[in-house]
Symmetry: C2
């Protein structure tokens, strides 16, 4: 909507609210079937305790070995190996022995969290917290009446290393331990940012408590007070 | 500004306009002193011909060799080599012979263009064109009364390959030609997306012509009709 230089934007709050409750229930179902990256749960819960926020898809960061033309290819890509925690040389060295169909990449990605807010003020506050925690590539993906203001919170943490082509082994097995060591460091840099985000959310959230969510959380034997940081944060310096 | 569920957002159009004209003049100064990535010029001009758009910083994509702890490190990074077009093995093989202070990375990045619009409708149209052209990681960075709606148009095109650590040469010289070949392909994938963006902007822009800019362009001996695609587009299939 556009009127004489004023951009007006109205979110349908009852539809947005219904979606929030659906996403909240799906979150617990996903956790139960092991579909959800468990380490992210405390951060996602903190977002939900605010009346004007819910989360969408998210990932705490991961290491994959992929057979694809380019690291960013989606179609015609097969993921040969995938893990959300540090890996050892044994876990991937065998893979290097087989010739890939396209090319073999070692890809490490940092955390990515999609968030929906029901107003711009909340969106801006979340972006400030995310960027100050190190999620410097965060921004608004879209604005929609029903889906709200959709944010992507993300980092510059990324590794895309060429392991081999069908004809050429680019990275010798003898160098693999050094490379894997650095890939694990990259993964942990991403997790470290998530720990900073957890600490910041713990400090500032909820802006406006969502009583229904907080009460539902209590029904699940949890509460804001009992919430503990993601597991990996114990090992990482804040 | 927030009133009963309506997000209202007013851009100060006279300040925004003054900034647009300043950025337009700076663009030509930057081109003259060689500071601007010349290949981007036709795309930037197309954005400016719309009344409600100007550009900010931008890059058509590049290959760098950097000495840094991580590929994304900004502080404590020295750029050992940088080029906006394909490279040859001769240009970088010597670098591999010297031990880096931190780690040596071969980084290729795709295009990135920052754009400001003076209303949300235009912002959304630009985002649709950018995403449909392959700039799939595009979004809104910020909304501000004076700076307008700031967009980052960007791709997933990226390579961050570990060349060596102080103690270990990860990628042998004998594998360098294959790696450089693929790095050049990555760079060209980014340029190919820019060519698609140019073609789409050519088709749809300006939404609302900016007569002052179009007239200034004529004064520089250029016109929308005479505008030709970036140089690299001639060699790349659209």
């Amino acid at each position: 909507m556009e009127r004489r230089g004023i951009t007006m934007f109205r979110i349908n709050e009852s539809i947005w609210r219904r979606r929030k409750i659906e996403f909240w229930q799906r979150l617990w179902e996903d956790l139960e079937i092991g579909y959800l990256d468990e380490d992210l749960m405390p951060i996602l819960i903190l977002f939900y305790t605010d009346k004007k926020i819910h989360t969408l898809s998210s990932c705490s960061g991961r290491i994959i070995v992929a057979d694809s033309t380019f690291p960013w290819s989606r179609e015609e890509t097969s993921v040969v190996y995938k893990k959300h925690s540090p890996i050892s040389v044994d876990e991937v060295e065998d893979i290097l022995g087989y010739s890939p169909v396209r090319r073999l990449w070692l890809n490490v990605t940092g955390p990515i969290i999609h968030v929906s807010t029901s107003d711009m003020d909340t969106a801006e506050k979340v972006l400030v917290i995310a960027r100050n925690s190190g999620m410097k590539h965060s921004g608004i993906l879209s604005l929609s009446e029903n889906k709200g203001i959709v944010l992507e919170l993300t980092t510059g943490v990324k590794l895309t290393h060429l392991l081999r082509t069908p004809g050429t082994l680019i990275t010798d097995l003898s160098k693999l331990d050094r490379l894997i060591d650095i890939a694990n460091q990259v993964l942990l840099e991403g997790k470290r940012i998530l720990c900073k985000l957890y600490a910041a959310l713990r400090k500032y959230m909820p802006f406006i408590p969502d009583d229904e969510i907080i009460s539902d959380l209590r029904g699940r034997g949890l509460s804001l007070e009992k919430l503990s940081p993601p597991n990996y944060c114990r090992e990482l310096l804040l």
